[in-house]
């Protein structure tokens, strides 16, 4: 069988790309009107092999864009389904922050991305979604991307004595670090809780 791997996979709700195409086109137009140059690039499904549109946003206006996507009823993406990151190493802007949004009123999704250089700080989106707190800690733990104004930017999964960030492309494949002694207790954290 000769199928093109770039054809979007139909979901349980049917082919989203056809169903929401017009909605997405109008929403992207609205975003471009509102934020102008802050919208760096838009990749729409069918032309680009993806199941939802990907909107690339400038780093400094990510909070404004996400709060518009959440609060403006013409978008209505009220739910932050996931917040993650990818390491696109050969690129000059090394990391891509990924915000997966979901709308409970329309039942559709959209994906917002931010390109970040190594060492640059991304504004935290906790003011928009409080659930971004731990997700951003995980991104910091795994990729070393730091967040501006994050209230509690500590490692969340790895041991606090861990050196390096394991999901970076330059982290060694077998970079084991095993600590036989228990993790030291951070008194500052205990006081904060």
């Amino acid at each position: 069988m000769d199928t093109d791997i770039r054809t979007p996979i139909p979901t349980v709700y049917g082919d989203q790309t056809k169903k929401f195409h017009d909605v997405w086109v109008s929403q992207v137009e609205l975003l471009k009107q509102k934020f102008g140059n802050a919208i760096e690039e838009v990749r729409m499904p069918v032309e680009y092999p993806t199941d939802v549109p990907i909107v690339y946003v400038a780093k400094d206006s990510i909070v404004a864009v996400l709060s518009a996507l959440r609060n403006d009823p013409s978008f209505g993406y009220n739910f932050l389904a996931d917040l993650s990151c990818t390491d696109e190493t050969p690129n000059e802007k090394r990391f891509e922050m990924v915000y997966q949004l979901f709308s409970h009123s329309r039942f559709n999704r959209i994906r917002v991305k931010v390109r970040v250089r190594e060492g640059e700080k991304v504004p935290t989106v906790i003011p928009v979604w409080i659930s971004a707190n731990w997700a951003e800690r995980e991104v910091y733990d795994m990729f070393g991307v730091e967040f501006l104004n994050h209230p509690d930017l500590r490692r969340i999964l790895m041991d606090h004595r861990w050196e390096g960030h394991p999901l970076r492309k330059d982290y060694p494949l077998r970079g084991y670090q095993v600590f036989p002694s228990p993790e030291p207790i951070d008194l500052d954290v205990l006081e904060r809780q």
């Binding site: 790895m158 041991d159 394991p166 084991y176 095993v178 228990p182």
Partner: protein, 166 residues
């Protein structure tokens, strides 16, 4: 002494009878972290019945257990916890490394997994398999009993001041 002159007692060395008692009362602490833990439960239950070999009293407190059965994957975050549990067990203590993950990291050759619990704690006996069959576990227990009988385990050698393999 009986009326006909037969003896009702026999003499033995104290450490022999102590080892005999120890090998037939190895109370396990089940440290089941993943699918091997299910197989360990099967071995403890009625079909295979580890109780036949004196290992029926499963203790969830390290202070009351003799045999630490590490069944499953030990991540690098779990490693200090395992070390803590091992340190809390009273001497003499034995460790059974149950399955491929505990023995060598298994298929999880990644940054987040300890490559064998022997990087963290000393191990007396390894049971291979993914997961091991209950018969294999019982065989491991019997081999451990032979070692205890001969005084060849790490704890017993340390007790006597003998050289301990690392």
């Amino acid at each position: 002494m009986g009326k006909d002159g037969t003896a009702d007692f026999f003499t033995t060395r104290l450490d022999v009878i102590v080892n005999w008692a120890r090998k037939n009362s190895a109370w396990p602490l089940p440290y089941g972290t993943s699918c091997c833990g299910i197989e360990m439960m099967a071995t403890l239950c009625s079909d295979y019945d580890m109780a036949r070999f004196g290992a029926e009293a499963v203790r969830f407190s390290p202070r009351q257990a003799d045999l630490l059965i590490v069944a499953g994957i030990i991540t690098s975050k779990m490693a200090p916890v395992l070390r803590n549990v091992y340190d809390q067990m009273s001497e003499p203590k034995w460790v059974m490394s149950f399955g491929a993950c505990a023995s060598s990291g298994g298929i999880f050759n990644v940054y987040s997994v300890a490559q064998g619990i022997d990087t963290i704690i000393p191990v007396d006996i390894y049971v291979p398999g993914c997961p091991p069959a209950p018969e294999g576990v019982l065989n491991g227990l019997l081999r451990l009993q032979q070692m205890i009988d001969a005084g060849a385990t790490r704890s017993q050698r340390m007790e006597k001041g003998l050289e301990v393999p690392r």
